[in-house]
Symmetry: C2
Subunit: 253 residues, 2 copies
Amino acid sequence: MQSKHPAGRLPDPPNPIADDGDEAHFCGTCAFSSACVAAGYHKPDLAALQCLVEHVGPFRAGEHIFRTGDPFRAIFAVRGGTVKTRMVDKEGREQVLGFYLPGEVIGLNAIYPEHFPCDAVALDTTFFCRFSFPAMSALASRIPAVQQHLFRMLSKELGTASLLAGDHSADERVAAFLMDLASRYAARGFSGTRFHLSMSRGDIANYLRLAAETVSRVLSRFRIQKLIQIEGRELQVLDPKGLRAIGQSLLPE
Amino acid sequence: MQSKHPAGRLPDPPNPIADDGDEAHFCGTCAFSSACVAAGYHKPDLAALQCLVEHVGPFRAGEHIFRTGDPFRAIFAVRGGTVKTRMVDKEGREQVLGFYLPGEVIGLNAIYPEHFPCDAVALDTTFFCRFSFPAMSALASRIPAVQQHLFRMLSKELGTASLLAGDHSADERVAAFLMDLASRYAARGFSGTRFHLSMSRGDIANYLRLAAETVSRVLSRFRIQKLIQIEGRELQVLDPKGLRAIGQSLLPE
DNA sequence: CGCCTAATTGAACCAATTCAAACGCTGTGG
DNA sequence: CCACAGCGTTTGAATTGGTTCAATTAGGCG
């Protein structure tokens, strides 16, 4: 996935969602694939699941998928590209809540308030599967696997605050952030050692509750220490063990 | 887990759950009350809901309701008392994840991993309703209101990270913490201006990512500024508007 | 080419931490 | 009954990691 043309301002989406003809393959990296499988690809249930999905996009860097206060009607699975969610307080200060990679889902935190409590902003060219939530819950009532999948996704997201937890040094936070990204990319079949940072240093810093300058300094230090290779936003993890060791107290296990 | 007499030192709990005879009234402050109401108090569904509930407790200060790694079988609604959830990293450092008051639910973050990812520790004498999660999901499939209620609880908890978000001063954090507690107490019918802090300064500090000394200093300052009255753990909010103003960027609205 | 924004790097500063000491409360044991 | 130990809390003084301010460099695009 991940558009073939990652850079921002292309006149037109390079590869409009072209693989619709091969749903089974397309869904392989989708957040709902396991639910689909559980529902059974050949049962009529699957038709219902397909039915409530809508492919949306492309959105380009800086565009909003939804905005704070928008009425909640659907959740979005990222098919390609990267998204940040953020809140903006009334003084205009931004607070980055998270980054979402292909296969991950945004909008779950809007179920309860029934309005989106945050903005979702594309960091590069992004595509989504849009799932009508009312239709999804109705389906969940009929198909236990779908219900279970929703419960699990929600519960999983509850465990995601860990990168921000605790009083940890800038080094720990940045190392843990990089390894978290790496493992999430790896989990979706991308390289876990070489990837593109779709977000700016400022976004990373904001997310980690650091200053952009601090993130820059830490990354420079990691490079000097041969933990990573980084040029602009192209990252290569040279010493995963070393990074993991630094960020260990913030990472799983 | 959940023995009636959890190894405690008291010969007997002061006020053993005495209101079982009046379920409807008892459930008034319960986290599931709205689901019960939606299910209809007089339908057979309600019987099913009652059926999967088990009253557990008392637990006394310091006792564990569940521990990291315990297999996930149930969620717990706090009936009385206060609970903290926490993680302990391998260096032995504690990380407080949250405090839970009567009417609130713990254990939702264990659905996905299928094991509790944290400890739950009683801060004072606590009682719970224990809901078998398999039974609960089965019921949710049959009763849309129950399913919706679970979705909403999960989603609501996703929005709870806000007190920790952002780079905010100690004053902002503490003020927001106090007002958050106040509003949660008020929402459950307790006083929102006078309440007991069941947790130590150290727990508050850990939760807010501050040092215990800092919390102590801020509280002292707030007292001098006549924002609060505080003696030990007995708190009275004298100037809710003032506190809210200080913590505004961390609080709803 | 030149503008604009992002990123890097250096130096000064500051809020919160750490270190340290004293106080108060509670439970224990002589 | 009182002395003592242990823990939580408060308060003061010194330290520091990260921020802020500032200047420079690099990169993308009209």
